[in-house]
Each structure stands twice: as C-alpha cells, then as structure tokens.
C-alpha cells in the first residue's frame, strides 16, 4: 500500500455541522475509525493480560500460603463478613452492567442514558470503596488485624494469621486501587459525554474503559469467594 498519509485531508473540516461525535477525527496514522477502534481494542486486551499477570502473582501467593498455613486462612475467612463482600459483589456486577449498557447507549446515540449509565457506574465504584474502607478496612485495622509486622490482634488463634492479613490487604488493596483508577477514567468519559463526544461513530473510549472496568469486576468475582467463602 501507499504511504500512510497519502489519503489527503481528514474526513471532516473542523467547522463542520452535526453533533460532536460525528465530527471527531481519528488519529492521523489510522486509515479510518474502524482501524483506530480495532487497534485500541487490541491494545487494551494486551494491557489486560498484564493486569491478569499482576493479579496472578497474588493468587499464587494466596495458594502457597493457604497450602502452608491452612488454619490461619480458615480463621481469616471467619474474620471477614460475607455480607459486606456479597454486597460489594452485587454493587460491582451492577456497575459492570451499566458500563456495558453505556456502550450500547453510545452506539445507539442515546445521549441521556449514556450520561446516566456512566454516572451510575462511577457511583457504584464509589459505593464499593466506601463499603470496603469504612465497614471492612477501618474496624479491622483498629482491632489490630493488620498485615505482616503491623499485626497486633491480641485474640489471634494461629501464629500465622499476620500472613493471612498480608494477603488480604495486598489483594483487596491493589483491587481497590484499580477501582479508583477505573472511577477516574469513567469520570473522564462522563465529562466528555456532557459535550456529546461519544456517539455511533465514535465510542472507542467508552468501549476500552469498559473493558478495564469489567476486568476489575472479574478480579473481584474471584477474590470474593477466595477470601470470604472458602473456609
């Protein structure tokens, strides 16, 4: 094929008519919107594999420690309240649903619903973090149920419980960081959607951030039973 910039001018002039999403240009090194969309999506999937590998280290650490200190881990899961974990699972599943729905809204040019679903997703993320920090982290930390050398819980039943808390705080902490990053990205989408940036011809951002948000949900789908339910 000929040189990449032999296609001439971008599809529309800057001062064109129509909603913003229809005037969004693709990056100059892509031939068209489709190519840009596919490249972005493949890039996001590649990034998601690195995310999975990041969490795989934590999952393997969990497996090793569980095999070595089963009693500490059995005690550990009893210290956690499955009701908060379950509630957080439902909150994240709902947010995944609204995220997936917002892509549909953008594709079908339902601007009002797009804004609503994006805002709802961010709020679900915030609710998740509030539950996590105020109802789970804070009371446990105050009781001395802390990771590693910070551990000072006087009624511990097994000498290896600090290891359980190390695994618990690192796994859920890194996950919570991802929720926070996801919330930031979706807030950015929401602010741009106020200007009508996303529509049937231009929704790559929504799609790609959506993939990230679903991965955060996927990680929690595994963390919840591993930490709260296996006893």
């Amino acid at each position: 094929m000929s040189a990449i910039d032999s296609h001439g001018s971008p599809p529309t002039a800057a001062g064109g008519k129509g909603p913003l999403w229809s005037r969004m240009k693709h990056a100059h090194h892509f031939r068209n919107h489709d190519e840009e969309f596919d490249a972005c999506k493949l890039g996001m999937w590649l990034f998601l594999t690195t995310e999975v590998l990041l969490f795989s280290g934590l999952f393997v650490a969990y497996a090793i420690m569980r095999m070595k200190y089963p009693q500490a881990f059995t005690n550990g899961s009893h210290y956690l309240d499955w009701r908060w974990g379950g509630l957080n699972t439902i909150v994240l599943l709902l947010s995944s649903f609204t995220m997936a729905y917002s892509i549909r809204n953008a594709q079908m040019n339902k601007q009002g619903w797009l804004k609503f679903n994006l805002a709802f997703t961010v709020l679900c993320g915030a609710l998740f973090l509030v539950i996590k920090f105020t109802l789970e982290y804070a009371p446990k930390w105050a009781q001395g149920k802390r990771p590693g050398f910070l551990f000072s819980y006087p009624n511990a039943q097994d000498p290896y419980e600090p290891i359980w808390w190390s695994i618990y705080y690192s796994a859920t902490g890194i996950h919570a960081t991802h929720v926070l990053i996801g919330m930031g990205l979706i807030t950015y989408l929401f602010l741009r959607s106020l200007k009508g940036t996303y529509g049937p011809k231009h929704y790559t951002g929504v799609e790609v951030v959506g993939l990230y948000w679903h991965l955060v949900d996927l990680i929690w789908i595994f963390l919840f039973p591993l930490l709260y339910l296996i006893h």
Partner: protein
C-alpha cells in the same frame, strides 16, 4: 458527508444488532480498505439484562452453598473436605467470569485475536499456579524434611515475635479466662519449636536410615570424591524415592561406561 451520514442499525440474530456504514467512504473511494466484515456489534438490552440476572443469581448461589455446607457439617457432624468447598466456589466464579467476558466484554462477538491473547495469558497463569502447587504438594516425596512448614525468613520475625514487642514493649492483655495472652503465645511458640526439633530429628533419622539402606552414601562418595551427602540441606536436595528424571544415584556403574557404547 456520506462518510458518516448513514448509520442505521438492523436486528441481527444472537441477541445483537450490527451497525453498517454508508456505502461511500471518502477516505477509501475505491473500496481498497473495505470496512471489516464483522461490523460493530450492539449487544441487545435483553441480553445484557439476562446476563446481569444470571450473574446475580450465581452470586447468591455461591454464598448460599458455602453457608449451607457449613451448616450441614455442623448439623450432622460430618466433615466435608475443603476441596468440595473450593471446587464449588471456583466453578461458580469461573462461570460468572466467562459470562462477563463473553457478553459484557463482548468476546463472543469480537475478533478472535482478543480471546486468543487472553487465552495465552491464562495459560501462563495456569503454568505458574500449576507448577507451584506441584512443587509444594510433592516436596515430601523428595525429602521428608521439606514437607513441613516453611518458616519466616529474612529477619526471622513472624507474627509471634511481633506480638511480644509492639511499639518496643511487650503487649500484656488477658483473655476471657484471665490468662495473660502473651503467655499463651509464648507457650505456643515454645511448643512449636519443640515440635520442629522433634520433626527435624525424626526426619534426619529417617533420611539417614534410607541413605544407608540404599547404599547411597557410598555411591555419592564414589562419584564425587570428597563430597559427603549424609542428609539433604536447603542447598542440597537428595531424591529418596518416587519418580525421578535422571538415572538412579545408586547405580554408579553406568557412569563408568563410555558414552559411545550404543549397543543397547
């Protein structure tokens, strides 16, 4: 411009609709780079709601089964192996994640490359987890000494020593019976150390006995000259029994043969 003027959706089988672009592309007037055959999939509202419902039902189910199992074990006084608990939880989590990946992340309708990329990543994860489990689960087969707990390395401090010295001074609290908690932990630690010593002693004796019985010591001496292998250490793992990758240590005669014999 006709480039994006036409954008109509049409119902499509499989709970999705596909969007189609206008016929004329100003960027590609001769159709040299035709739009991809798959188009962009719009997952139907009904499909999304069904998937969400299934996910919620499975969440309730996994919590219910975990609680039911606990209740069953206490009510009937039976011991359900932990593998049942783990298998149920992980199967449901896997089903849920496949649902999310297929429909919310649209893997079902996507370019198959995305599924392939993630598939290889999961394969790597599987190898990582699998070989670690294989190692941990079979250490006892190589050397009984290695079968027991790994102890805190590095500073040598674990939760026990830490409890004794929080903020530089011992924590003294009383449990429900009025006993000093520090004492209780001290006792546990003492007992564990005693158990460790006994285990080490036992393992050493067992290992030595096996070594002698198999004539291993002599074999190692014959092979490595000055080297003495009475018992394995952290730096030196000695195969005792079980499957082995390489030739049996007890048969040093093979080493004496030249490499190019090839008659058998």
């Amino acid at each position: 411009m006709s480039d994006h003027a036409h954008h109509h959706t049409s119902p499509h089988a499989g709970g999705t609709e596909r969007s189609a672009h206008g016929a004329f592309d100003a960027n590609d007037p001769h159709g040299e780079h035709p739009s991809h055959g798959h188009g962009h999939v719009i997952v139907s509202a009904r499909m999304l709601i069904v998937v969400l419902s299934v996910l919620l039902v499975f969440t309730v189910l996994t919590v219910f089964l975990a609680q039911a199992e606990k209740w069953f074990a206490t009510a009937f006084g039976v011991e359900i192996p932990q593998s049942v608990n783990v298998a149920i939880c992980m199967s449901i989590a896997t089903i849920k994640s496949v649902m999310v990946a297929m429909f919310f992340m649209q893997l079902k309708y996507d370019n198959k490359v995305h599924a392939l990329v993630m598939g290889f990543c999961l394969l790597a994860f599987g190898l990582f987890l699998g070989f670690t489990a294989l190692d941990l689960g079979s250490r006892g087969r190589i050397d009984p000494v290695k079968e027991f707990d790994v102890h805190a390395g590095g500073t040598g401090k674990n939760g026990l020593t830490r409890i004794k010295l929080v903020n530089g001074k011992p924590v003294v609290r009383r449990d429900e019976q009025g006993h000093l908690i520090l004492d209780r932990f001290g006792k546990i630690q003492y007992e564990m150390e005693a158990i460790d010593t006994n285990i080490t002693q036992w393992a050493k004796e067992t290992a030595e006995e096996r070594l002698t019985r198999r004539g291993y010591e002599a074999a190692m001496k014959g092979r490595h000259g000055e080297h003495e292998a009475t018992v394995s250490s952290a730096n030196q793992t000695v195969g005792m029994y079980g499957p082995r990758l390489f030739a049996d240590h007890a048969e040093p005669a093979h080493d004496a043969e030249p490499a190019a014999t090839g008659g058998h």
